[in-house]
């Protein structure tokens, strides 16, 4: 049985919130189509939205965290990566104070994730150095 359908979703590239359709043929992502009746996108997309499907199955996509050892990025588990981040951030904060750390968030995250990150920055790290990639 042939299966072709479109999945309505939100473009992951910025905070504007354009809707787009991901074209799916036999469970494979094959392309993007604009959503004509969507209130924000109104059937248009920018060049990033038009290519929003490209990274999903890209050969260069990172699937695990990488930790640099002896100048070379090595694959690592999430536990290893998070342990390293936590210990380094704690050490830097202890050595140089909380304002020596800055956090940059992303428009690709949800509102809730962004809230969480600023809360982490202010309450856990203890700095107001938090900004966002959409300040272009």
């Amino acid at each position: 049985m042939i299966n072709y359908h479109n999945v309505l979703t939100t473009c992951p590239y910025c905070g504007t919130g354009c809707a787009l359709h991901l074209q799916v043929l036999d469970d494979q992502l094959v392309g993007v189509l604009p959503a004509k009746e969507h209130v924000i996108a109104q059937g248009g997309l920018c060049i990033k939205g038009w290519n929003a499907h490209a990274f999903v199955n890209h050969k260069d996509r990172l699937k695990t965290p990488l930790i640099k050892k002896n100048g070379i990025f090595m694959e690592a588990t999430w536990d290893e990566a998070l342990d390293l981040i936590a210990s380094r951030l704690a050490a830097i904060k202890a050595e140089s104070g909380p304002d020596s750390v800055a956090v940059l968030s992303s428009a690709k995250c949800t509102n809730e994730e962004n809230y969480l990150l600023q809360k982490f920055t202010r309450a856990v790290i203890g700095t107001n150095n938090v900004d966002h990639c959409a300040r272009l």
Partner: protein, 274 residues
């Protein structure tokens, strides 16, 4: 009188057992419409059948046929979409021998939105809905009445709004080259905005659409800058007709001029009409 949507749904129900699928439009979340392949195994999906807004369904057929060249498919087509398929078939992008066309006549209101002069299919054996007369394309007529200087100023102004999203190329069912000139740095510099004037992006695209564009207006509809692109394509189609007697998208047997080896005397050059 049964309405067009109900009539179309009944027609698809009828044809569904005989084919591997029927390409038409379906309402999704928030009633937003997208192309869909209806199959007999999930015939209930037809409750969500839609007819408007129109979508680039000729491209959907191409995508499915590339993966399933042997499939027996049917597709619901408006006048412009049928003309698009005629051109795509001539350029070996779709195989119409394995496709049943279900025609859908546009309403007067739809024809008006598209400024469409030919709002009904002519090849499909079945046509749902009442055929209406085409409308006058006032936007193109107004443009034609301008002087050469005004025309130049018009396009410079319009192209200056372009954000180079490549949407007009991406959505166009007639744009199918594997290697696209518009991605060649020699012609279109990456990251350069506003476009240099004259815009090679738009000029190259107009030339490449010659005897291919069937005025479906998908490019115009997806343009975030609202550039009235179909004006240029409709005038090119007019010129192709006047210069070569070739009516884009009409006749399955007529070879498009760019596919022929031009022999002396085969075409009489009548000169540019403007």
């Amino acid at each position: 009188m049964t309405d067009r949507l109900t009539e179309l749904r009944e027609e698809i129900y009828k044809i569904l057992p005989e084919v591997d699928g029927v390409i038409a439009l379906k309402k999704g979340p928030s009633a937003i419409v997208a192309p869909y392949l209806f199959v007999k195994e999930a015939a209930d999906d037809l409750q969500k059948l839609a007819v408007w807004p129109k979508e680039p369904v000729p491209d959907t057929l191409k995508i499915i046929q590339r993966a399933h060249p042997e499939a027996r498919l049917a597709i619901v087509v408006r006048g412009c979409e049928e003309r698009g398929l005629v051109e795509m078939s001539k350029h070996s992008q779709v195989d119409l021998d394995k496709v049943t066309l279900i025609g859908l006549a546009c309403t007067a209101e739809e024809a008006d939105i598209c400024r469409c002069t030919k709002p009904a299919p002519t090849h499909a054996k079945i046509v749902i809905g009442e055929r209406v007369e085409g409308t006058v394309d006032r936007l193109t007529d107004d443009f034609t009445a301008k002087s050469l200087e005004e025309k130049l100023a018009f396009w410079k102004q319009e192209y200056s709004h372009c954000i180079k999203c490549y949407g007009c190329r991406n959505i166009c069912p007639q744009c199918f080259c594997n290697v696209c000139t518009l991605e060649d740095e020699k012609w279109v510099e990456t990251g350069r905005l506003p476009l240099p004037q004259p815009s090679m992006y738009h000029l190259i695209r107009s030339m490449h659409m010659t005897a291919k564009c069937v005025a479906c207006r998908e490019c115009e509809e997806t343009c975030p800058a609202g550039i009235p692109l179909s004006i240029q394509f409709r005038l090119i189609a007019r010129d192709v007709k006047q210069m070569y007697g070739y009516e884009t998208g009409e006749n399955l047997d007529q070879q498009p001029p760019q596919l022929l080896v031009l022999e002396e005397g085969e075409y009489e050059r009548t000169g540019l009409p403007h």
